[in-house]
Amino acid sequence: MNPVAITGLGCLCAAGSSLEEAMTALLDGRREPRPPVRFQTTLPVPPLAFELPDFEEGAFPRTSALALAAARQALEDAGLAPGDLHGARVGVIIGTSIGATLCDETFLQARRAGLTPEPVSLRRILEANPARLISRTLGLRGPCQTLVNACASGTDALGLGADWIRAGLCDVVLAGGADELSRITTCGFSAMRIADPTPCRPFDRDRQGLNLGEGAAVLVLEAEAFRTGRRAPVQARILGYGAASDAHHPTAPHPEGEGLGRAIRQALAQAGLAPTDLDFVNAHGTATPDNDRVEGVALARELPGIPYFSTKGGTGHTLGAAGALEAAFTVGSLLRREIPGSLGLVHPDPALPAPPVTRRTAIPGRAALSQSLAFGGGNAVIILGRGDA
């Protein structure tokens, strides 16, 4: 498959409000999960989260506003003003979980109290879904799609967005993911007993579960003709994409990571690469006992000896944004030719076939794989290469 050029990246998360800031924090091993400030819960153990307390969504739904901010940043990074895209076929594909859910507690509380409020907030969620908000605000003309594949949404958006370029459907695609920190979702994960009340520890012997986070990442994908026409440099390329389902359990991954294995092999085949061509794996690494164990098993089987780490110890699990953020971090690591240690890791789980990377490490910077596992058994994998590799 023809690689697809990435010319710009936008990134907002608790680790930083740009890719540069986030990479510096991740490489330095800095993190600061805190109790959320935008909402309260009556959960018996207060949750920790990786929030963006200073981000103002304005009139838009928060997830959509995060996506729009990341899209603007990505276009600026690509050297593209919105006016440069007039007349071009520009697609927008954004993955999310919360951003498409019709959820508004204030509205429902009023209903339950016998009032009859207008569902303004619910309509606003529909009117301004993440992909739609980006497309309309920037005046873009092209396909528009919001993917809701749970935690694999961001990775799937990148893979499918790259296909729009290869299919000749678009000159440019803004592809990524976004999700906000939500009170309802916080309660939901607590109910599933997979949230850690302390800072999360992916792949650690003593891991107890995840911390939630919020954020967004958008990548600018360009068709070669459009890119060379404006002489834009290539920062990285999408080399391959794979996706497969476990068909095992509504929320838990297949114990042997069978679906993940198929997705990895698909992505490698599409990229025309062997496992030894990869410098590292940016794992899903949520810090839940099941996820990390399954990833460890699958990686040892499919990509033996390839270093891997999780960045969720520095960003929290950003759900629909995770795959896109982690793809951005993967590009950031390739460009810097170094990878962070797995944040939050103190004692690598001895049950893992191979331990993750524990410290900042130099790499050649050729190609790398980023993977996401989702509720419902979805597995999505993307392979990225340096632009000049």
Partner: protein, 291 residues
């Protein structure tokens, strides 16, 4: 755009207020179908689906934790597979799934929030939470029908069906799968009624599934092109879809099924479907009969 290779439609699985299956669907197209259900708590008339036929495909015990949204999707998928002469289990890694829905699993979404408001944060229902995710229906189809290919759920308002077809084409063209089960799903419940407001007409719920394949072989019809946003002429006259199936953002999939049905029955093609979303504008989809 013209699909690189036309997508062959080899099975249809419609479910709605009219009943389920191609015969009931065709009858509704010919004779009309008034709304036969209501929405709580207002009692607004709506086209509500009967999901009892799902028990003929899957044991009740297997679906006991599946909500209405998931059941609609499961029944539509099973009917489409049956219509295509395919098994409804052990589908394996060569079958993918695309689901399009404008509102998602509104019943579970509301139940989750209601439970928290009523009983408190510590008592959020993990089942309602898992079911409230838009991709919960895809997850249930994957799990219960043994589908191990990629699953994609798309939400894009009134253009969800059109947008989802792009994903289906992508999965098939990239060679990731040999076959895609594609479906539009919409659940009508209290949230639907709240969003509907006082406007005329009736909300509808249902699922309309198609089995899509590429390559040579028999087919009911062929999907040859899609335009987002649409620019071509729409020569299929406006139909009274809303009267027969109710309105809902995921229900343009019924138009797709209807067009495929008519082509399969011998109506000469092409048929061009026109869809409109109030915020994104128009889209068109072109279908041909098989040669």
């Amino acid at each position: 755009m013209r699909f690189e290779t036309p997508l062959r439609i080899t099975g249809l699985g419609p479910v709605g207020g009219f009943g389920s299956g191609r015969e009931a669907f065709a009858r509704a197209l010919r004779e009309g179908c008034p709304p036969g259900g209501t929405l709580a708590p207002t009692g607004r008339l709506a086209h509500r689906a009967d999901l009892a036929p799902l028990d003929t495909f899957l044991p009740r015990r297997a679906t006991r934790r599946v909500d209405t949204f998931g059941r609609l999707a499961l029944l539509g998928a099973c009917l489409a597979l049956q219509d295509a002469g395919l098994p409804v289990s052990s589908l394996g890694p060569e079958v993918g799934l695309v689901i399009a829905s404008g509102h998602g699993a509104t019943g579970s979404t509301l139940a989750l929030q209601d439970g928290i408001l009523q009983d408190g944060d510590p008592f959020a229902s993990p089942i309602h939470f898992a079911n409230s995710l838009h991709n919960s229906a895809a997850a249930q189809i994957s799990l219960l029908l043994g589908l191990q290919g990629p699953c994609v759920t798309v939400t894009q308002g009134g253009l969800s069906t059109a947008s989802g077809l792009l994903a289906a084409d992508s999965l098939l063209r990239q060679g990731q799968v040999r076959r895609v089960i594609f479906g539009g799903v919409e659940e009508a419940g209290e949230l639907t009624g709240l969003l509907w407001g006082d406007r005329p007409g009736h909300p509808g719920e249902g699922a309309s599934f198609l089995v899509l394949e590429v390559g040579e072989g028999p087919a009911l019809a062929r999907l040859v092109g899609l335009d987002l946003p649409g620019e071509g002429p729409v020569d299929l006259p406006p139909d009274t879809w809303a009267d027969r199936f109710g309105e809902g953002p995921g229900l343009p999939a019924f138009q797709l099924t209807g067009a495929a049905q008519r082509l399969a029955e011998g109506q000469p093609g092409p048929l061009v479907l026109g869809w409109e979303d109030p915020w994104e504008g128009p889209a068109t989809c072109e279908l041909w009969s098989t040669p």
